[in-house]
Subunit: 144 residues, 2 copies
Amino acid sequence: MSKEESERFLETAAVGRLGVFDGEPYVVPVNFVYREGKVWFHCACEGRKIQAILKDPRVCFEVDDFLGLKEGARPCSFGAYFRSVVAYGVARIIGEIPRKREAMKMLMAKYAGDKEWFFEDAELERVAVVEITVTTMTGKSRLP
Amino acid sequence: MSKEESERFLETAAVGRLGVFDGEPYVVPVNFVYREGKVWFHCACEGRKIQAILKDPRVCFEVDDFLGLKEGARPCSFGAYFRSVVAYGVARIIGEIPRKREAMKMLMAKYAGDKEWFFEDAELERVAVVEITVTTMTGKSRLP
């Protein structure tokens, strides 16, 4: 897929998988928002995602869509129709309340619609917001 | 989720994500089959998955299902309905042709139906089959 197609898929996919290294590989699904080279998601302030990112901020971020089975004459000509993007980047935990608010508003707009979402400071302090700056991405597809 | 529920989800999910460490975290979607504590998938004989597993066979394997949005009175009471399983295990590349054939038959049965699939030795030599022995798994869900 072209960079534009990969980015469009990242913008619309409902679930992404964060891959980190925390002494062993760890993969975890998250709801997220992608815009202009950055991924944002939120999570609990303590937990394995945060712990791993603090140790090593290099992350992988993956989205995919399984579009069905490509059949063939022989088993070896079977395959999957799919789209996927694998992105690499550097994660940081956002501390600044205005930037957390902006990220949470983008998340709400993606999943719940573009309304005037309001967040109290105290609500924002209770969650962690992670921002991944994507450095490279590879999009692949085999379409029906 | 209970171990039984997590295993049932692993048995039926169409796509799993392999997480490995190859100098940096790498997450890649695969079609796979799960049975009795083991995951099998196939891939090209050369490539990043194989290279990473040869360096460090400890892997993470993830499946998820996004079931929609849980709405709430405040943004903070929104959430996702989902199911997910995160498994950890040790991967090995299967060399023995009979075991590769058995794994490929299970894969075909899962995706294309339980027929008498036949594989030539030469066909099996052209693909790599990876077997993950799962050591632990955690299943989570929030159902509508």
